[in-house]
């Protein structure tokens, strides 16, 4: 089973070998409210850990999604253009944003495990 790691900014990355699928957590989509638009990067773009990976627009506001780790974008979820609400409905599944090829797997060590993230959310 693929392992999923989390940031305190509510992004997740699901690791599969040297690539990872990035999205936002269920907690994050709940905080955002109805997602109406997602701006995704181009395939091939180099992302830096903590840098902007995508922008999510809800009815209310725009929010940046940060790259949990550094890497090159190898795929984007273009389905979200027509159906941005998928981010609300299935954030951990069909509502993913980008897949990246990790350039430094060591960066994963600084991220939260599933249990650590759930504990963190309880403190919010």
């Amino acid at each position: 089973m693929a392992e999923t790691r989390y940031t305190k900014d509510h992004e997740y990355i699901r690791i599969d070998g040297d690539t990872g699928t990035v999205g936002i957590t269920d907690y994050a989509q709940g905080q955002l409210g109805d997602v109406v638009f997602v701006e995704l990067p181009s395939v091939g773009k180099a992302l830096t850990k903590g840098g902007e990976a995508a922008v999510v627009e809800s009815v209310k506001a725009a929010s940046e999604v940060y790259a949990p780790v550094s890497g090159e974008v190898v795929a984007v979820n273009s389905e979200l253009e027509a159906a941005p609400g998928t981010v609300n409905e299935d954030p951990a599944g069909k509502g993913w944003f980008v897949k990246i090829k990790l350039t430094n797997t060591g960066e994963l060590d600084g991220l939260l495990s599933e249990a650590e993230y759930q504990d963190y959310v309880k403190t919010l």
Partner: protein, 382 residues
Amino acid sequence: MAAEAETASTEPLLKTPFHARHVAAGARMVPFAGYDMPVQYPAGIMAEHNWTRENAGLFDVSHMGQAFLVGPDHETTARALEALIPADIVNLPPGKQRYSQLLNEEGGILDDLMVTRSADPDEDGALLLIVNAACKTADYAHIEARLPANVKLVKAEHRGLIALQGPKAEEVLAALNPEAAEMGFMTLRTLKLGGVKANVSRSGYTGEDGYEISAAADRIGEIWDALLLDPKVKPIGLGARDSLRLEAGLCLYGHDIDTATSPVEAALNWSIQKRRREEGGFPGAARIQREFAEKPARVRVGLLPEGRAPAREGADIATADGTIVGKVTSGGFGPTLNGPCAMGYVAREHAAPGTKLDLIVRGKPLAATVAAMPFVPNRYKR
């Protein structure tokens, strides 16, 4: 992920008479103009917005300021207010309401407000003012400092205010008092609603038909509860109130209008009646009369971006060659429009509907078209 910060303050937040009801209903509460207010209920902004457009939405707007201007007769009170605002109040009939603006000496807008003349002959000389929450303290000081000795401002801080908005609002309120159905747009009546005496006006700020209901703070909760017994009614938060008023092309104070903008620049010409345009006699009259005659250098317009990406407040507006010609003052996603919409100020030569402009969103030009407002047709009961 980083969301826009909500306005925080170290001051303790004020509560409206409905605060406990909002919390019990699971609302997400946020600080707004010094009050702890519901931004949305569990259904979310989109559902609340659509509910209001199709049924009836119930809004707590008790944070807004309510005050009576009281003088010896209508003429005296109206003249005192006309010295501060550009609307014709002298000729406002009993039981009628008008939208206007408090102006500074430069013709800039200190606040926008609703002015209502009492329908009761015993209350001749009384005008009800409803002002914005964030401005009310400054508004009251401004007004009081400029009143003649025989006119007084009486703050109605013991009153709450709710808005019932949407195509089913009439049916819902008429079930509590059939007289509600007889009221015309921008009129006021004193009605008993479930045993509570309320000042009811047929108005609102969503573009929909509806009512605003003012009653004593210790009794208004009974009206709220009675309205919510009707399955056509759901409570709606400030988030949907903002998306509804944006689609309706209505200004939000502090965003679309402020102390630097005049009512003419803001395209609020309709709110300044002919007599006042001709006679002047309000703060900043010279500027406003000049803008009427010569047209202002910049004007508020509607903007429809192409695609689905919203342009938010603060985005620059540019021509195709990159020249900045204005700024977005309100923008977001219109649930009824099923697309983004915005309003902002542009140099007059770019203000004609159909003009193609770019909105600069995250450094990139987003193609948009100047469009007539409202974006969603209003449905006031004329």
